[in-house]
């Protein structure tokens, strides 16, 4: 511990004090003795990896959930287990990661909802609009008061969320991952707003897992890991590495890359030295590509080009990592490659075979495997047994010509895969729902990597799994590379991309803003491309 609560100020100065907070959801202990202390008038960063329990702690503070145990004080008063209404009345405002806006209502209606101005028994809409416009002018948060929320941009919607809290007189503002969906100019604008609110006497708690933001905006930091508060730091004088170490609980492993590249080089026969793949490398030069993608364009739900002319290729025995802030088209790119999303234009070739017009199954037969980013939604059927999940997508292989499932082979397959991929508990009949996150992911990985494949799409392969499983999965990916597989890795964790990939592509607003050998990449240099502050048209 580099800081202790007692050194951070007098007790009376605390806007928020939460101690010993416990919260369990079914099988998950989201908070186990978590604590948080925030002084009045500061910008406080609450950091931790996905699943560390940050959002739960803030939901408890906001009154959306009651803690199982622990106490909380706001402005010196005990408020343990209060309601949303109490929290709002006490000046707490929460801006949720997923917007809590009613799309069919107007901006003004969303903002005044629950505290509507009235004239007699009528809802006084004109006054609502006037109030919102006044607040908008005072705070500099520009919003069109009379427009439907459905018509707003993401940045505007977030401003509406902040105005909602200010309209209720919030003095303590909690923002859950506010930048995940914003463009860099919008992020800068948000920082300006937050600083102005702080200067006006407000207290701000910012939940994030992005270290650059923490360093840029916060004054103090609370670090959470696995449901516990593990550190409190003063931002000044703290390096991102120190914060990262506290977040993951060990030195960040950035070392394994060299060794891994060596393995790949051996496979490739020595004469093909991947470590110096030139940045200007052109796909058509390379006839040995396992997968070649040219000028891929995907249209998203808002009719925008979410993937906007992406070109790349991956050789056997190579990992191409895609770095980037989430929401820059990575999800759509992977889904388009897997056949789950229609293409607007472009071509996809797997082992020289054009699969552009083929469906999911045909692409699988062509040698494509896919670890999807969301195992609960796509990767697993939670109510199916492990053995059934292990044949999902391969059900034809495990059926007779008459369409009857071959139970014996499905069981044998499960037995072998469970042993090879160390799924625990080793019971093929258990529903996937009842496994831990790490073991669920192992089932997905066993299915996708335990069969013959040439190209693997690995999307967020270690999201929400424990450390042991992360290492297991990383080892598997390296082994697959050594065995000559081509892997496209998408990860929100920059260090994971850097640790595994041979080349790194940075995706920004639907384009690859840069492709470079991983040996030349660092968190700093990638960060510039990821935030769009530096761009270079990729080959």
């Amino acid at each position: 511990m580099t800081g202790s609560p007692t050194t951070m100020g007098e007790r009376a100065d605390y806007a928020i004090r939460m101690t010993g907070i416990e919260k369990t959801f079914g099988a998950v202990r989201a908070n186990r003795g978590a604590s948080l202390e925030v002084r009045a008038g500061e910008i406080h960063a609450l950091v931790g990896e996905n699943g560390a329990g940050k959002s739960t702690l803030m939901k408890i503070l906001g009154g959306l959930q009651a803690p199982d145990a622990g106490t909380m004080e706001v402005n010196g008063k005990d408020v343990t287990g209060w309601s949303t209404r109490d929290a709002i009345a006490a000046g707490i405002g929460v801006v949720h990661q997923h917007f809590m806006l009613v799309p069919t209502l107007t901006v003004a209606e969303n903002i005044v909802l629950g505290m509507e101005p009235v004239k007699g028994i009528r809802f006084d809409y004109a006054t609502a609009v006037a109030n919102v416009e006044k607040l908008s002018r005072e705070t500099g948060l520009a919003v069109p008061a009379d427009r439907k929320v459905a018509e707003l941009s993401v940045g505007e919607a977030q401003r509406v969320e902040i105005l909602k809290t200010l309209y209720r007189g919030a003095r303590i503002l909690i923002l859950d991952e506010p930048t995940a969906v914003l463009s860099p100019p919008e992020v800068r604008e948000l920082w300006t707003v937050l600083r102005r609110l702080r200067d006006g006497g407000g207290t701000i708690v910012l939940i994030t897992h992005r270290l650059d933001e923490v360093v840029e905006i916060s004054e103090t930091i609370t670090v959470m890991r696995a449901g516990q508060t593990v550190d409190r730091l003063t931002t000044a004088g703290t390096t991102p590495a120190q914060i990262a170490k506290a977040m993951v609980g060990r030195e960040v492993a950035l070392t394994s890359r060299d060794e891994a590249s060596a393995v790949g080089a051996v496979y490739a026969g020595g004469d093909d030295d991947r470590s110096d793949v030139e940045p200007g490398f052109h796909p058509s030069d390379d006839m040995t590509s396992a997968i070649r993608v040219a000028d891929l364009v995907v249209i998203g739900s808002l009719k925008t080009r979410v993937v906007d002319g992406v070109t790349f290729s991956i050789r056997p025995g190579e990992i191409l990592g895609i770095a980037g802030v989430e929401g820059n088209g990575q999800t759509e790119l992977i889904e388009a490659l897997a056949g789950l999303r229609p293409l607007e234009s472009g071509t996809i070739r797997i082992n020289g075979h054009d699969v552009t017009r083929e469906n999911v199954l045909e692409r699988r037969q062509a040698g494509l495997s896919h670890i999807p980013e969301d195992r609960h939604q796509r990767g697993l059927i939670l109510d199916y047994s492990i053995s059934d999940n292990l044949v999902l997508g391969r059900q034809t292989e495990f059926s007779s010509g008459r369409g009857l499932l071959n139970g014996t082979r499905i069981r044998e397959n499960a037995k072998a895969q469970i042993a090879e991929f160390d799924v625990r508990p080793p019971d093929a009949d258990i529903a996937a729902r009842n496994l831990s996150g790490g073991n669920q992911q192992k089932v997905v990985i066993a299915r996708e990597m335990g069969q013959n494949f040439g190209v693997l799409l690995a999307s967020q392969p270690t999201r929400g799994v424990d450390v042991g499983a992360i290492e297991f999965i990383h080892t598997r990916l390296r082994e697959a590379r050594a065995a000559g597989k081509a892997i496209l890795l998408v990860s929100a964790e920059l260090k994971e991309v850097l640790a595994l990939a041979d080349r790194v592509a940075v995706m920004y607003r639907g384009k690859f803003s840069k492709i470079m050998p991983a040996s030349e990449a660092s968190e700093e240099s990638l960060g510039e491309y990821m935030t769009g502050s530096k761009t270079e048209s990729a080959a």
């Binding site: 059927i381 939670l382 199916y384 997508g393 369409g403 499932l405 009842n434 831990s436």
Partner: protein, 354 residues
């Protein structure tokens, strides 16, 4: 017994048991409001149904249609679709079977005639089921509302055809079929004399077995259940969600339509306006109580058939309408306890350690 099987069994069995308890209590209150003794009435109810051959035959007859409609509804639910269309699918199936039966030559061997009529029934129901399936896949129209609305349209259309074109004067039914009738049970077991029970019950049980094999032992069933549980995951597994929905609605309609043979081929030998008489809607209850499993559906169909026939047995003491109240109570109680039981059981189960 594996842990998972036990879990599924618990989730399946608790809600109907809770419902039965609630229904018994409600039944007591209703019986007492009529000034009768619950134990006497319940004894009469059982004696009048399972206690004699005629009553039992009637239970079997009523259960037959309910097995078909219950299977139909549960088949669609397994694909993630809530179909309320069994009522008109049943009617359409019966109608088409009657039409075809009227046209068959009596010289045709029965081994051919009956399957032809059955196929006609299935096709009739399948067409009515296919329309909401098509509207859902093509236009995203919600199948619940479309099937409800289509019930009225199809029933009105059938009524029109019968009334305007082919009815026997002074009645609301078609002429009798010339061939394709299914034998009554009393021609084998005389004790069933007078009851409408016929060999359709065997076809119903066979259909339940086929549905079970299809759902749990075939590739298509694997895909259908995957779509019902998690369409995104099924799509990821290479399954065409729209294709499965279309197929599920057609097959669901076909099964309900097949139910039309019980009345038309097995009992009256003609189609009559309103013969479905709510058996399609009750199919939803049967599927719900039977937890969408073919074996559960058969048991639930017997239960609802018992209630329905039991109403007649107790009519001398308590109005038979009591059982209609109890049916509603059972459905409500099961619907309310299913999510509750699942949540409670999942909470109670310790997570499997990693």
């Amino acid at each position: 017994m594996s842990a998972r099987f036990r879990e599924q069994l618990e989730e399946a069995l608790f809600p109907p048991l809770v419902a039965l308890l609630v229904a018994l209590i409600c039944g007591d209150l209703l019986i007492m409001s009529y000034g009768q003794s619950p134990s006497t009435v319940y004894r009469l109810l059982l004696e009048g149904t399972w206690g004699n051959a005629y009553g039992f035959g009637q239970v079997l007859y009523k259960a037959t249609t309910l097995i078909f409609t219950g299977l139909s509804v549960s088949f669609a639910i397994r694909a993630g679709l809530f179909s309320v269309g069994a009522e008109s699918q049943l009617a359409a199936g019966g109608f088409v079977a009657a039409l075809v039966g009227m046209g068959l030559s009596p010289r045709m061997p029965w081994i051919l005639a009956i399957p032809i009529c059955m196929l006609a029934a299935a096709i009739g129901g399948g067409i009515v089921g296919g329309i909401p399936g098509w509207l859902k896949v093509k236009y995203g129209a919600h199948e619940v509302i479309v099937t409800i609305m289509l019930n009225f349209v199809v029933l009105a259309l059938l009524n029109y055809i019968v009334a305007a074109k082919i009815h026997v004067p002074e009645t609301l039914h078609t002429p009798e079929i010339r061939h394709g009738g299914i034998a009554r049970l009393d021609s084998f077991i005389p004790a069933f004399h007078g009851s409408a029970a016929n060999l359709s019950i065997l076809i119903a049980l066979l259909t339940a077995a086929v549905v079970w094999v299809y759902l749990f032992k075939t590739k298509r069933g694997f895909e259908l259940r995957a779509v019902g549980l998690q369409p995104d995951a099924a799509e990821y597994g290479g399954v065409s969600v729209g294709g499965i929905w279309m197929r599920a609605m057609i097959l669901s309609g076909a099964v309900a339509g097949l139910g039309g043979i019980n009345y038309v081929l097995g009992y009256k030998q003609y189609y009559e306006e309103g013969f479905a008489g709510g058996a399609g809607f009750l199919g939803i209850a049967v599927a719900l109580v039977g937890r969408n499993h073919p074996l559960g559906v058969v048991l639930a169909a017997l239960f609802f058939a018992t209630l329905s026939q039991g109403g007649l047995a107790i009519h001398a003491f308590v109005p038979k309408q009591m059982v209609e109240v109890l049916q509603g109570v059972v459905i409500l109680a099961v619907a309310m306890s299913v999510p509750e039981v699942r949540r409670a059981l999942r909470q109670a189960r310790k997570p499997v350690a990693a």
